[in-house]
């Protein structure tokens, strides 16, 4: 493990990603790390990634991560939870990585739109800007809306509005409504 102390969840994520890569499992970094790339830089206690697996595969992955030295906890979402299951990985320093086993409404192609960003001698796949904004619109909280706006304003390249509308609409009308607000501001 690369972690040496607390506050290094991002490095723990690199270790988790090595396990995923070895099994050819697609992933996309989301949450505060993705927000730091697309919008506002801010710290957080954990690192989050979406992975493209079924709940049963996620349960099987738990054993793999345990063998690799991670502390693990598998949580399953309620029937109406947009996240079917989550595998929580941690180390002895209290660093933590949340692996989300899917997200209802997410375009499966989102994994092919990730951007590769060099990090600590390795590379991380960060969720693409349009998918990031769409997920923030789906989450819909005040901080999420602020994140979506900053991702729009901070874009160095033009945002693909057609793609943005399509992937947001997949999350439902409420997410599309939030996107309209974000675009109108």
């Amino acid at each position: 493990m690369r972690t040496r102390r607390a506050g290094q969840s991002a490095l723990l994520l690199l270790d988790a990603v090595a396990v995923l890569k070895a099994r050819s499992i697609d992933y996309a970094v989301i949450g505060a790390m993705a927000a730091s790339v697309h919008g506002e830089l801010r710290g957080t206690a954990d690192a989050d990634a979406l992975i493209s697996v079924t709940v049963s595969t996620l349960a099987a992955l738990r054993t793999v991560f345990k063998k690799a030295g991670f502390e693990t906890e598998l949580r399953r979402g309620d029937a109406d939870d947009p996240i079917p299951a989550m595998l929580i990985l941690s180390d002895t320093h209290g660093n933590r990585v949340d692996l989300l086993g899917g997200l209802r409404g997410l375009d499966p192609q989102a994994f092919s739109r990730t951007i590769d960003v060099p990090f600590s001698g390795d590379t991380l796949r960060i969720i693409g800007r349009e998918d990031f904004i769409a997920m923030k619109c789906f989450a819909g909280g005040p901080q999420d809306i602020a994140d979506a706006q900053l991702a729009l304003r901070g874009a160095q390249e033009p945002v693909d509005l057609d793609l943005l509308r399509r992937v947001t609409r997949r999350f439902g009308r409420a997410a599309a409504d939030v996107l309209e607000q974000v675009l109108a501001r």
Partner: protein, 155 residues
Amino acid sequence: MPTPDVATIQALRSDLALQISRFMRRRGLNQLAASKRFRVPQPTLSKIANGRVADLSLELLIRIAVRAGLPVVLQTGKVPEEAGSFVSGEPAPVRSRAASGLAYAARTSLIEATRRLTPEQRLAAFLAHTQLISELHQAGHGAEAARVRKARRPR
């Protein structure tokens, strides 16, 4: 189970009807006033307001939106779930600027400074930031423990 093209049309119809219905509410138009303004029978507007749009054509809904002066974007996609109607150019319901011009300018300059960073620099800054926050937490816990020890010491 409708075919993807039929499901897409249905999705567009119900989304567009929703936008027209919202437009009427925002403008304070009842169905009678709207029927005169949009030149459609009142029962049609009742269907729109109640989301019963199965027998209304997409073309009619587009006509109503145009007559209302409601600019919309109709979007189709790879699957029906991606199809929707978006209102463009509608004013946001909340103010777009902070109350303080100074705070707004400070925030904007911060965003501009962040914008100049490469994604790699951003991730490095993210790691440094989280490590600093963690050190701050630990320092806080240490200071609190020292305070408690000092308070327990016999005088």
